[in-house]
């Protein structure tokens, strides 16, 4: 049953992608200008062309590394601060205005300000950190606050030590929240990395190459880089979901 369903899902996905490609092709024929909208096949050739450039892998590698660093920093700080805020109402209240500011500040302001503050390598990291952090932090705080009081009462009546309550109840209880925040922050963080790279132009970066392609009016390559970025984002989300299923195995 499961296998049949999966097959069906893949077919639907395939159909969706084909429809998109067909629409794209028709529109590009109607516009009839490779600069405004390149056809799917020239974009595909564009992907092959950029993939064959010497610095393709190193650009991809450096962009992913920036994304990863931003992700790890926001993740660790979000988990630690989230857990402490879950327990301490004072920190929770102190963090509230900070969070409101971070959440509502336009991404472009973050990038422009960090262009002033940091060197071009670190701008994307800082940008992805600032967009991911609130997601992780909020999820973890909710996780701590939503811990089942009845389970804690049970642990208390059986005289379980505080350390074990933390390790064996709190941590596993917030694990699903940690995974959920990873899934929802990885895509957003990645978008911020690319946007920041376009403006800060680090030496090796997907965003820098995109910006250059735009300057030379190589629209097919802009689209080609976009597709590469989408694939990376999709794959990292998939990876986190697979890891998440392994970690939160009691739910599946």
């Amino acid at each position: 049953m499961d296998k049949i369903n999966k097959k069906k899902d893949y077919l639907i996905l395939l159909a969706a992608i084909s429809i998109l490609l067909i629409i794209w092709k028709i529109v590009s024929l109607m516009i009839d200008s490779e600069i405004i909208l390149p056809s799917p096949e020239s974009t595909f050739i564009g992907i092959i062309e950029i993939a064959r450039q010497d610095d393709f892998l190193s650009a991809v590698f450096h962009s992913i590394t920036r994304g990863l660093i931003g992700f790890v920093i926001s993740f660790l700080s979000g988990i630690v601060l989230g857990i402490v805020s879950g327990f301490s109402n004072i920190l929770y209240k102190l963090m509230e205005p900070v969070l409101v500011i971070i959440k509502s500040i336009p991404l472009i302001s973050i990038i422009l300000i960090s262009l002033i503050w940091f060197n071009s390598e670190n701008v994307p990291i800082f940008a992805s950190f600032l967009v991911s952090f609130p997601i992780v932090y909020t999820n973890i705080t909710e996780g701590v606050k939503n811990i089942d009081k009845k389970i804690l009462e049970m642990a208390k009546s059986y005289k379980i030590t505080k350390t074990r309550v933390l390790i064996e109840i709190y941590i596993p209880a917030i694990l699903p929240f940690i995974i959920a925040s990873a899934v929802s922050s990885v895509g957003i963080g990645w978008k911020a990395v690319i946007a920041a790279e376009v403006l800060s132009n680090p030496l090796k970066a997907i965003g820098t190459d995109m910006q250059l392609s735009k300057i030379y009016l190589e629209t097919d390559k802009v689209l080609a880089w976009t597709i590469v970025a989408i694939l990376i984002s999709y794959l990292s989300e998939l990876l986190i979901k697979i890891i998440g299923k392994k970690i939160v195995k009691w739910k599946y």
């Binding site: 009845k150 389970i151 009462e153 059986y158 596993p172 739910k251």
Partner: protein, 236 residues
Amino acid sequence: MYIEIKNLSKNFKNLTVFKDFAIRVPENKITVIIGESGCGKTTLLNLLSGIYPADNGIFKNLKHRSISYIFQEPRLLEWKTVKGNIEFVLTDIYSKNKRRKITEKFITLVGLERFSDYYPLQLSGGMSQRVAVARAFAFPSDILLMDEPFKQLDFKLKKDILASFLNLWQTDKRTVIFVTHDIEEAVMLGNDIFVLKGLPAKIVNNFKIGKNQFDRNLSNGNLIGIKNDIIKIMNS
């Protein structure tokens, strides 16, 4: 020997649940506390187990006694297997080997040996509650608190788990304090039955049943009499 509570007071904000409350619970017997919901039965167990602190009160023979607790819900850790949930309460008490043996023994006693590696979300409500019963007996307690543990189960399951419980208790007669609002349950299980009423809660009557729990039959005249008396008191 008795566990004795005197001068017990407990307030929640403006609500006085206990005021100068006293009760004497015989050891190694099943004591049933029966009353309408909201009359402080669960609060009494939570005070005994230390989940809530009492505002005031003298507890005799309760200090340093270990307690296990079966709640209305199973209260299992979702992320631990059946085995893991039982071992969870034994970790600080036994070595790894002993822990494993005891866990296995009690899983078998409640008839869940095929499910020892299952997670709670894979079990039915009745099975989960049996894990909670096994956990309570595996924990080497002197006192066993039970808060309407069969309330959320259907009739057949209730009978099964009640039988599992009595079997376990027969071989290991701990002091049981059993809270319920089900009169038949009370008459089937209690050596002593206390009827609780009002707020602040007072014991309005108590009954003693000498007969062994296994030989009890609800159609027996004596038990019917007690049952009717309790109904009368609860309705008055």
